[in-house]
């Protein structure tokens, strides 16, 4: 299986005053196209740092990260931003929707960013995604008019509307009750199964991780299994 994500000896050291705090100590992972991988580990083990590095939001201290064949670590900040725009979708624990925009408006904004403001997006794709996530009746609703589960589904819809090579989810059910967590996790599973969406998900929840194809365990900045 062709890897969509590959890291080699990835290290990340934060400099806090005069103290160096290693967050990643040589992480090697590979995620194939269409795989659904969960990353688990205790707080402070480096999961979020790893996700931020994979997502091009942080530059690692050493090592390599390849997304769909492109090496993030040799790129400038602008190039990493561009790669994120083209190939990565993000889902956050806190949903991170624009509160002033409707569900559809949030998707349109992502499309505008994707197309560099050159077009108004693909309405058919937008509707397809919203329908897939059972949000077709919520298109005109603003985030505050939606439940937590619905907001997270809108966030997922926004993340995949531009067909990213990889979807990175940071504790996507961390702010949801169990019922909504189940719905969101089933939808992620469905996206992976039906559309072959590659997903890397950070979670503390063993039940959420159990739905993934593979679980990567981290501890103290290293992959332990």
């Amino acid at each position: 299986m062709k890897p969509v994500l590959e890291t080699r000896d990835l290290q990340m050291i934060y400099h806090v005053g005069k103290v160096d705090v290693p967050a990643l100590r040589g992480v090697n992972i590979s995620v194939g196209a269409g795989e659904y991988v969960a990353i688990m580990g205790p707080s402070g083990c480096g999961k979020s740092t790893l996700l931020h590095v994979i997502g091009g939001m942080l530059q690692p201290t050493t090592g390599r990260v390849e997304i769909d064949g492109e090496d993030l670590t040799t790129m400038t900040d602008a190039q990493r931003t561009d790669l994120r725009r083209r190939k990565i979708g993000f889902v956050f624990q806190r949903f991170n929707l624009f509160p002033t925009l409707s569900a559809e408006g949030n998707l349109k904004l992502a499309e505008r960013i994707y197309s560099n403001s050159k077009n108004g997006g693909d309405a058919a794709r937008r509707h397809e995604v919203l329908k897939l996530l059972k949000l077709e009746n919520k298109m005109k609703h603003k985030p505050l008019e939606l439940s937590g589960g619905e907001q997270q589904r809108v966030a997922i819809a926004r993340a995949i509307v531009n067909r990213p090579a990889i979807l990175l989810a940071d504790e996507p059910t961390g702010n949801l009750d169990s019922e909504n967590s189940t719905i969101v996790l089933e939808m992620l599973r469905g996206l992976n199964k039906e559309f072959g969406q590659t997903i890397v998900m950070i979670t503390h929840n063993p039940e959420a991780a159990a739905l993934a194809d593979r679980i990567i365990e981290m501890r103290d900045g290293l992959v332990v299994s």
């Binding site: 931020h52 997502g55 939001m57 942080l58 602008a78 931003t81 561009d82 790669l83 994120r84 725009r85 083209r86 990565i88 993000f90 956050f92 991170n96 929707l97 624009f98 002033t100 925009l101 409707s102 559809e104 408006g105 349109k108 904004l109 992502a110 960013i113 994707y114 560099n116 403001s117 926004r158």
Partner: protein, 393 residues
């Protein structure tokens, strides 16, 4: 409208309103102040140009005392210029002066500047000798009667006014002017006894004698208007006047517009100051508003960047918001300026010219300053660290 920029503006209506008013203030400053200055100068120049007399004769040096009493020139010069003068038995020391050839009429004019009765701006009042003034200029009475010499007690406090003044002003009882109405000028009430056309020099004219009595400048005037027998003689008359009357200068009426232009130079400096003030106000208002916006929306900027928005996209989003606020400010500023123009013109004798050129300048200043003011906050937003921004509480 599902648009991030519009929704952002709607989300904080008070801040948007303050920003709009800030930009509008700059626009109003430019449009109204420039319009007022231009309007007053144009109006004055037009009224100076309506005088047919070819020459204005006045002292070379205008002393600071002239501000308090502008009647510093002997009014009898008007007679002397026409007929000349020789020493007499009563006054053997009198310096002989020949009559100036080519002069057909002369008239002494007293001109006083006072605060406008409305309290806004200032206005001129002329003191004239109507018989000689009517021979020297093309003044025509269109209603009522001409001024008398003002020497009889019952005719001292009479004025004639031009048509514009008559149609646009109120008397001391706040009633529309009619013949016989009382208006207040030089601290006294005067009866309006006539209306003249065309507008020339000051709109209000009283007997020169009355002005002399009120200002303590007995037998004096501010300048003398001189009409020549033929316009072609104006230059030679001017030279003869200046050689026979040292310390006095003769201006050709045709030179007056150029003299006004010279007088406008300090005004241009003042207008430049007004424009820069508008620039500073508009820029600062938008800078502060957008800076606050950026701090408030740090997290949203982080989300934009996490979605792959480039620095250019972030900068353009903020600049577009500033441009929209500025455009609203410019529009609001124009509305207030136009309303202000009509309100001021209706309640005062001020003239305000809203010229397309200055409307364009105000638009450029308003929107340009908005974009400039938003640039620093926009660049700061574009350079935010995405991980820190997205974690911002």
């Amino acid at each position: 409208m599902d648009n991030l920029i519009v929704e952002n503006i709607k989300q904080r209506p008070l801040r948007t309103a303050i920003s709009v008013v800030g930009v509008a203030l700059g626009v109003i400053l430019i449009v109204l102040m420039v319009g007022l200055a231009r309007g007053m100068v144009r109006d004055s120049a037009e009224r100076q140009g309506n005088v047919d007399a070819e020459i204005r004769f006045l002292p070379t040096e205008i002393s600071s005392a002239a501000a308090a009493n502008p009647l510093m020139m002997p009014a009898r010069f008007a007679e002397v210029i026409m007929n000349g003068v020789q020493p007499t038995a009563e006054d053997p020391d009198l310096q002989a002066k020949p009559p100036i050839a080519g002069v057909s009429a002369t008239t002494p004019v007293g001109e006083f500047i006072q605060n406008s009765e409305s309290g806004i701006g200032f206005e001129y009042v002329d003191g004239i000798d109507f018989p000689s003034f009517s021979k020297t200029t093309r003044i025509t009475m269109v209603a009522g009667r001409p001024l008398t010499d003002g020497k009889a007690p019952d005719s001292a406090y009479e004025v004639i006014v031009d048509r514009y003044y008559f149609d646009n002003n109120k008397d001391v009882n706040r009633q529309p002017l009619q013949l016989g109405s009382k208006i207040k000028t030089l601290g006294h009430e005067f009866s309006v006894v006539g209306v003249y056309e065309p507008s020339m020099l000051a709109r209000i004219k009283m007997p020169l004698h009355t002005m002399q009595q009120l200002l303590g400048g007995a037998e004096n005037c501010t300048f003398i208007m001189i009409r020549t027998t033929q316009p072609a003689l104006a230059k030679s008359v001017k030279e003869a006047l200046e050689s026979n009357y040292p310390g006095y200068h003769a201006y050709l009426t045709s030179e007056i517009p150029a003299l006004f232009s010279q007088g406008i130079r300090p005004l241009e400096i003042f207008l430049d100051v007004v424009i820069w003030l508008a620039v500073v106000i508009s820029t600062l208002v938008i800078l502060l508003a957008m800076y606050t916006t950026i701090i408030e929306r740090t997290r949203e900027i982080g989300i934009l960047k996490s979605l792959g928005a480039s620095k250019t996209f972030v900068v353009m989003t903020i600049e577009k918001e500033a441009a929209l606020i500025s455009a609203l400010g410019v529009l609001f500023g124009f509305v207030v300026s136009v309303v202000g123009k009509y309100a001021l013109e209706a309640s005062t004798r001020l003239k305000i010219d809203i010229e397309p050129r200055w409307v364009l300048i105000a638009t450029v200043v308003g929107i340009g300053c908005g974009l400039l003011g938003a640039l620093y906050p926009a660049l700061r937003a574009a350079n935010l660290d995405v991980v820190e921004a997205i974690s911002y509480e």
